[in-house]
């Protein structure tokens, strides 16, 4: 039983690992500011689909790992991801029945919220970064959302993961 659950969670954990690797992947200098927030997209998707298993707690842990890997303030990404997961879980029934354009718009506002929290914390802690590092990921993340969602849904129904 327990083993069964673990094996069903494996695809999700794999997707998160791939997301983390994509976050660390080097990009040319010109487009590095437009690197989408892969982990935020993944957290939104899994919290929407399986809010009982993947909600604020897991989002927080993912955020802490992200903080360490990026060398930001410990707790910064954790807080932002945690809030994003909360909003997603809160509205997950609504979001599931949204048509794709509307859902993409919702994701846009979530990513904006995520970046705003990061921006806010940076402001309090005295880190200043060019504005493009904040709105770039929101733009690219929104554009990529339909693709990410289709891919993850396909993966989910093929492997029957979750629950």
């Amino acid at each position: 039983m327990n083993r069964d659950r673990a094996s069903r969670r494996l695809p999700i954990i794999m997707s998160l690992l791939v997301g983390l690797m994509l976050t660390m992947l080097p990009l040319p200098n010109a487009i590095t500011a437009f690197r989408p927030d892969w982990l935020a997209l993944l957290v939104i998707f899994w919290a929407m689909q399986l809010p009982r298993t993947w909600s604020v707690g897991s989002a927080w842990i993912i955020g802490i790992i992200l903080d360490v890997s990026q060398g930001t303030l410990l707790g910064q990404h954790a807080l932002a991801l945690c809030v994003v997961a909360y909003v997603t879980v809160r509205f997950h029934l609504l979001m599931r029945v949204f048509p794709l354009p509307q859902l993409t718009a919702t994701v846009l506002s979530m990513l904006a919220l995520y970046q705003f929290l990061l921006f806010w914390i940076n402001g309090v802690a005295g880190v200043n970064a060019p504005a493009v590092t904040y709105w770039g990921p929101v733009l690219s993340g929104t554009l990529l959302w339909p693709v990410v969602m289709m891919f993850l849904s396909g993966m989910r129904y093929r492997t029957q993961s979750g629950h």
């Binding site: 690992l17 990026q70 410990l74």
Partner: protein, 289 residues
């Protein structure tokens, strides 16, 4: 299947969600407070960082493989060309080095006469930059050497052409370094031509630095080489930092608007040298003493 499950316990309700999120936000704020104030959480950070080492290696692997394929499939002609170029370069450098040895001896003698502390040659160790992109909010990178190799916080990083940055978080096997182009980075330098001392500040753009404290009548020109002055204590003196590429004097402003281009190619650097100078902990490998 999902529906039946949710009908059983009131659809859409996740128990105690608000409470949990408030608790986690509180913990995050606490963590950030302690992380920002002092390095209480260094051990936590270091242990998670060490656990992520395999992931870093995996992410780095494709780039490394690409480099290896490139290196092992170079044609014979290219190699011969490169060899020729390197040979002539070596001849030139050797010739310069002969002179340098004599100059160094002379310098030491003169300094002894002046009873000044002689400048020791710095020990160096080569570290490779892992092809892992770092923090989106600042200009930093990850190198493949850590406290195991004697790396310490504040250590200077140079490449073949000039100063690259300094270590800000030394981990066990990998360390994070801040580039001189980061907006939070300031570096005491002097103009090589006349010894004018000033400070170089990063601008957040990878190929531009600014010198905000040059008074309008100061003797500085386009093309001047800026070298580290060694005054801050972190960097040993005499390493090239940047070349001045524009000087705009505005008569009604107290300071001139001066920008410089970093000597090191910050964007595409792949290998860096860590400098162990003077009172820093010594290392076995590398070095030339």
């Amino acid at each position: 299947m999902v529906a039946s499950r949710e009908n059983r316990n009131n659809p859409g309700r996740i128990p105690a969600l608000g409470l949990r999120v408030l608790g986690l936000i509180f913990i995050s704020i606490l963590l950030m407070y302690f992380d920002n104030r002092n390095n209480h959480l260094d051990t936590v950070r270091k242990s998670i960082n060490a656990a992520m080492y395999p992931l870093r290696v995996i992410v780095d692997a494709p780039a490394r493989l690409w480099g290896w394929i490139g290196a092992s499939t170079t044609s014979r002609g290219d190699l011969e060309l490169e060899l020729g170029r390197l040979k002539s370069e070596r001849l030139l450098t050797n010739a310069r080095l002969q002179k340098l040895n004599a100059l160094e001896a002379e310098n030491a003698r003169l300094r002894a006469l002046l009873e000044a502390r002689s400048k020791v040659r710095d020990q160096v160790r080569v570290a490779e930059i892992m092809a892992v992109d770092a923090n989106p909010f600042d200009h930093s990178l990850v190198i493949d050497a850590g406290t195991r190799e004697g790396v310490f916080d504040g250590q200077a990083l140079v490449d073949a052409d000039g100063v690259v940055g300094q270590v800000i978080k030394a981990g066990l096997m990998t360390s994070r370094a801040m580039l001189i182009s980061d907006t939070d980075h300031a570096l005491p330098v002097e103009v090589n031509r006349n010894g004018l001392r000033t400070i170089v500040v990063g601008t957040g753009t990878i190929d531009s630095l600014s010198l905000p404290f040059i008074v309008n009548n100061a003797d500085i020109r386009v093309g001047d080489l800026l070298v580290t002055s060694g005054l801050g204590g972190a960097f040993p003196s005499g390493y090239p930092v940047a070349v001045v590429d524009s000087v705009t004097r505005i008569p009604q402003e107290p300071y001139a608007d001066v920008t410089a281009r970093p000597s090191a190619s910050l964007g595409e650097v792949r290998e860096v040298m860590l400098i162990f100078s003077g009172d820093a902990p010594p290392v076995e490998e590398g070095g030339d003493e």
